[in-house]
C-alpha cells in the first residue's frame, strides 16, 4: 500500500513521497502572496469603505432619532406654554368680567343716589317756589282784596265808611277772620 501511494504520489520526477501535512515551498509562497493581497485589499480599502458607509447610516439614524426627540420636546414645551397662556387668559377674562360687574353695580348705585338727590333737590326747590308764589299771591291778594272789598263795600254802604281809621280797622278784622278761617280749613 505504501509503495502504491509512493508510486502514485511523486509527480513527474517521482523522487519523494508526498505528505499532505508538510508544505512545499511554492505552496507556501503562493499562499502567502495571495493571502497578503487579500488582507491588504480588505483591510486598507474594502472594509474601511464599507464601515464608513455603515457609520454614516448609524449616524443618520441616530440623528433622525435625536431630531424627533427634539421636535417632541419642543412640541411639549409649546403645549405647556399654550396651556399656561390659556389659563392666564381665562383668569384675566374672569377678572375683567368681575371688575365689569363690580363697576356696573357701582354705576347703578351712583346713578340711583344721584337721582334720589336730584329728586330731593327738585322737590325742595319746587316746594320753595310754591311757598314763595303763595306768599306772593297772599300779599298781592291781601292788597287787592282790600281795595276790592273796600270798593265794593263803599259802593254798598256808600259814604258812611269814608272815615279812614274805622275803615282800616274794619278791613283788618275782616282779613284776620278770613285768615283764621282759611287756616282752620287748611
Amino acid at each position: 500500500m505504501g509503495a502504491f501511494i509512493a508510486a502514485e504520489a511523486g509527480h513527474g520526477e517521482g523522487e519523494s513521497t508526498f505528505n499532505p501535512i508538510l508544505p512545499t515551498n511554492y505552496d507556501l509562497l503562493w499562499s502567502f502572496l495571495l493571502f497578503l493581497v487579500i488582507v491588504v485589499v480588505f483591510m486598507y480599502y474594502a472594509l474601511p469603505k464599507i464601515q464608513k458607509v455603515l457609520d454614516e447610516r448609524a449616524e443618520l439614524i441616530q440623528g433622525g432619532i435625536t431630531k424627533a426627540e427634539q421636535a417632541q420636546a419642543e412640541a411639549a414645551a409649546a403645549l405647556d406654554e399654550y396651556t399656561a397662556q390659556l389659563r392666564e387668559a381665562r383668569a384675566e377674562a374672569a377678572k375683567i368680567r368681575e371688575d365689569a360687574r363690580h363697576e356696573a353695580a357701582q354705576i347703578v348705585a351712583d346713578g340711583r343716589e344721584k337721582a334720589v338727590r336730584d329728586a330731593e333737590r327738585i322737590a325742595e326747590a319746587s316746594s320753595k317756589t310754591i311757598d314763595a308764589e303763595r306768599q306772593q299771591a297772599v300779599v298781592s291778594l291781601r292788597a287787592e282784596i282790600g281795595s276790592l272789598a273796600t270798593e265794593l263795600a263803599s259802593k254798598i254802604v256808600g259814604e258812611s265808611l269814608a272815615d279812614d281809621a274805622r275803615q282800616q280797622r274794619l278791613i283788618d278784622t275782616f282779613l284776620d277772620d278770613l285768615e283764621s278761617e282759611t287756616k282752620a280749613k287748611g
Binding site: 501511494i5 502514485e8 504520489a9 511523486g10 509527480h11 513527474g12 520526477e13 508526498f18 499532505p20 501535512i21 508538510l22 508544505p23 512545499t24 515551498n25 511554492y26 505552496d27 507556501l28 509562497l29 503562493w30 499562499s31 502567502f32 495571495l34 493571502f35 493581497v37 487579500i38 488582507v39 485589499v41 480588505f42 483591510m43 480599502y45 474594502a46 472594509l47 474601511p48 469603505k49 464599507i50 464601515q51 464608513k52 458607509v53 455603515l54 454614516e56 447610516r57 443618520l60
Partner: protein, 285 residues
C-alpha cells in the same frame, strides 16, 4: 499555459484510442475505476515546474477564488450606499455575522474593534477558499493544500504573540501563559510544559491541520462518490448501474454537506483565532 494544453492534448489522444471517438465519447469514457488518492493534492505543475514559483492546478484555483473574492468586495465597497441594495445587504449580513457572532461575542465591542477587520478578512477568505471544493470545474478547496492554512495559522500565531507581548511585556506574557496563577507550585512541573506546547506549537498547528484535513477529507468523499458514479454508469455491468443512482445521490448529499463544512470550518478557524488573541490580551487567566 502551454504545459496545460499539452497535458490536455495527451490526455485526449491517449484516451480516445484513435480519431473515431468524438468529444462526448471521450468525455464519458473511462478506463476502469480510479479510487481517489492523496496524490490528487500534488498535481502536475502547470508553470515553472520544479522552482519555488511552481504553479499548479490548486494554485490556479486559489487565484480564481482570490480574484472573485477581491472583485466582489471591491465592487461592494465602491458601490456601498447608506441605503443598501440587495447585494450590499448580503455583504453586510456576512460582516455583521463576523462582528456580532464571533468578535463581539468573545472580545466584547471595545476590544474587538481593533481586530475586527483582520478577523473578517480571515473568515471570508477561508469561506471562499473552502467553497471552491464544491464549485464545478474548480472542484478542489484552496485550503486543502496545507500551505494556505499554515500561512493563515502563522499570521494568527504572530498576531497573538505580538499582541500579548505588547500588552503585558515579554516577561508578563510568558508568566501569564506558562505559569497561570492560582495553582500550587509543584503543579507547574506538569503544567508549564503543557502550556508551552499549547501556546507555541499546538495552537497554530491544530488551526492549520484541522482546516486542511477537513477539506482533504471532503475532497476525497466527493471524488469517491462521483468517480464511483462514473464507473457504475459507464463501465460496470447492467446490474451494477443502478448502484450508480445511490452513489450520485450520496455525491449530491455530500456536496451539500461540504458547503456546510466549508462554512463551519471558516467559523471554527476564525472563532479560535479570536479566542487566542483574546487570551493573549486577558489580564488574569
Amino acid at each position: 499555459m502551454l504545459n496545460l494544453a499539452a497535458t490536455l492534448m495527451t490526455a485526449v489522444s491517449s484516451d480516445s484510442e484513435g480519431a473515431s471517438k468524438n468529444f462526448f465519447e471521450w468525455l464519458f469514457s473511462s478506463n476502469g475505476f480510479h479510487a481517489p488518492s492523496i496524490a490528487d493534492l500534488n498535481p502536475e505543475p502547470l508553470l515553472f515546474g520544479g522552482t519555488i514559483f511552481e504553479f499548479n492546478r490548486i494554485t490556479f484555483v486559489r487565484v480564481v477564488a482570490a480574484v472573485v473574492l477581491i472583485a466582489i468586495f471591491v465592487i461592494a465597497a465602491r458601490n456601498a450606499k447608506v441605503v443598501p441594495g440587495r447585494g450590499q445587504a448580503v455583504i453586510e449580513f456576512i460582516l455583521d455575522f463576523v462582528r456580532v457572532q464571533i468578535v463581539e461575542q468573545i472580545m466584547g465591542e471595545e476590544r474587538g474593534k481593533k481586530y475586527l477587520a483582520f478577523l473578517t478578512t480571515l473568515f471570508v477568505t477561508i469561506v471562499f477558499f473552502n467553497i471552491t471544493g464544491v464549485v464545478p470545474f474548480l472542484n478542489i478547496a484552496g485550503t486543502s493544500l496545507i500551505g494556505l492554512p499554515i500561512i493563515m495559522a502563522l499570521w494568527v500565531y504572530v498576531m497573538y504573540l505580538t499582541e500579548g507581548v505588547r500588552k503585558h511585556g515579554l516577561g508578563g506574557f510568558l508568566k501569564g501563559n506558562l505559569f497561570p496563577p492560582g495553582v500550587p507550585k509543584p503543579i507547574y512541573i506538569l503544567l508549564t510544559p503543557i502550556e508551552f506546547l499549547q501556546v507555541f506549537i499546538l495552537r497554530p498547528a491544530t488551526l492549520a491541520l484541522r482546516l486542511a484535513a477537513n477539506m482533504i477529507a471532503g475532497h476525497m468523499l466527493l471524488v469517491l462518490c462521483f468517480a464511483a458514479t462514473q464507473y457504475f454508469f459507464f463501465e460496470a455491468s447492467l446490474a451494477l448501474k443502478s448502484v450508480g443512482v445511490l452513489s450520485i445521490t450520496a455525491g449530491f448529499a455530500f456536496t451539500l454537506f461540504e458547503i456546510f463544512v466549508a462554512l463551519l470550518q471558516a467559523y471554527v478557524f476564525t472563532i479560535l483565532s479570536t479566542v487566542y488573541i483574546n487570551l493573549s490580551l486577558e489580564d488574569e487567566h
